[in-house]
């Protein structure tokens, strides 16, 4: 029953988010601010995760491919597809659910508790449009970009680790990358990126916006938003794979 109530409230929040902005310039400024916060703010962690994720993939794939009948370039193919299909969109988005999601939930929660949202309401501003919509649109714009960067860096990390460990030469790796490449995999990764971006931004916004109480509740809302986002990402990951692959 509580789940249905919360889900209904979430849908209403999304619906009420679409209204005419009071001043386009101020909304644009807020949107750019969010793009910077979500995109540039998360770039460091995305770079680190992606490079190591690719590097470990290469080492572990090589470890499991013991047959001399399988060409070395297969390692690159496996790394490429693993990174594209799963690691870059899903793993990075789970990390971003923690980084970006907790920030969104605690920011809105703090604004709610300290009556800043009430102050905006009294001014005659639609707070859902002003506070939530720019976050979701910014996430939909910059998180897929981060996923593209992550995929590129992941593959590059794998190439680097393969060469450094003497497992596969860069020539073989590059050859493997081009073998049986399916552009559809990129499309699939991007579909995942958009769906996950929406989850990462809208779920924490919901929990933060409707916080009631004090500092303790802000912490709880932040944690809950990350947990729910992660579960939804994994669930959506399965559904998308079942439908699109």
């Amino acid at each position: 029953m509580k789940f249905i109530q919360e889900f209904g409230r979430y849908i209403l929040m999304l619906k009420e988010m679409f209204s005419k902005p009071e001043n386009r310039k101020v909304y644009w400024k807020e949107f750019m601010h969010q793009c910077n916060d979500i995109g540039i703010g998360s770039l460091g962690i995305v770079v680190i995760i992606s490079v190591f994720m690719g590097a470990v993939s290469t080492l572990q794939t090589a470890y499991q491919l013991v047959s001399p009948l399988i060409p070395k370039s297969s390692i690159a193919q496996i790394v490429r597809d693993t990174v594209l299909l799963e690691f870059a969109p899903t793993l990075v988005c789970i990390v971003l659910a923690g980084v970006v999601g907790s920030k969104i939930a605690s920011e809105l929660g703090n604004m709610r508790v300290s009556e800043q949202i009430d102050a905006l309401e009294i001014m005659g501003i639609n707070t859902k449009t002003y506070l939530i919509l720019p976050k979701i649109v910014a996430a939909l714009l910059v998180i897929p970009m981060l996923i593209v960067i992550s995929a590129g860096l992941g593959i590059w990390g794998g190439r680097l680790a393969g060469q450094a460990a003497g497992i596969i030469s860069t020539t073989d790796f590059d050859k493997g990358l081009l073998n049986s490449f399916l552009p559809y995999n990129v499309f699939f990764a991007m579909v995942k990126a958009y769906v996950f971006s929406f989850i990462i931004s809208s779920v924490p916004a919901f929990y933060g916006y409707y916080v009631q109480g004090g500092a303790l509740e802000i912490g709880r809302a932040s944690t809950k938003s990350v947990v729910v986002s992660c579960v939804l990402i994994l669930f959506a990951d399965y559904i998308l794979a079942a439908i699109l692959l």
Binding site: E22, Q116, I122, G124
Partner: protein, 269 residues
Amino acid sequence: MIEVQNIRKGFGEKIVINDVSAVMEDGKCNLIIGASGSGKTVFMKCLVGLFKPDKGSILYDGEDFTAMDDASRKEIRKKIGMLFQGSALFDSLTVEQNVQFPLDMFTNWTLGERRKRVQEVLERVELKDANKKYPAEISGGMKKRVGIARAIVLNPKYLFCDEPNSGLDPQTSMVIDKLIQELTREYNITTVINTHDMNSVMEIGDKIFYMYKGDKEWEGTNKEIIFSKNQRLNDFIFASEFLRDAKDMRMLEQTGKIDNNRNMDDLIR
């Protein structure tokens, strides 16, 4: 003028505001007083539209705020300024940006015009050298001033203040009270103040509404309050020996039987 007609508000089974009617006049400080849990804050939130009353109407200069569509309500809200108990300043903006925010959102003025207005308002609330500071870097009294500056920057017709003196020392409280009173008179604003502060009641209470368990128990002015025979009001207002003595002195003063040479030593005993 704000006219409240028989509003009722409850949460579940609990009735928090019970058929309250009141008239808040222009150019006056209308104070809502009452013990914690008496329904003052809910009453004020109903007035500004943060809560929708279950019954009754709220008229802003004759226009029924409770029956309006969202667009019309937005127009009324643009005429409302509000000072919150915790000031509710935007943490990520400087003092100057906080005050400028309503201008950015609702006017088409040039940046120069907006900055000039911000400066005017900050000077009006006597806030100097804090323009570039963030809310976390200024004192409670300064935050209240910034809150007032933000509330009046669009020249509101109605000003709401939720416990403007909470957390302030007596001297700063007086300054904030006087500032609100001056602004009310200067711009002929309808000011509604929620307060616990008895100093405010006596100093700026042009009209006072006493709430008791969701009902309006008493209504009058700061001149009348000391002569009130309402026991609950007297128990609330003059809770301490000191305040009861002060009341006696004020009564004597107003009936012309006071010895003007009597000093605080007599009062403290």
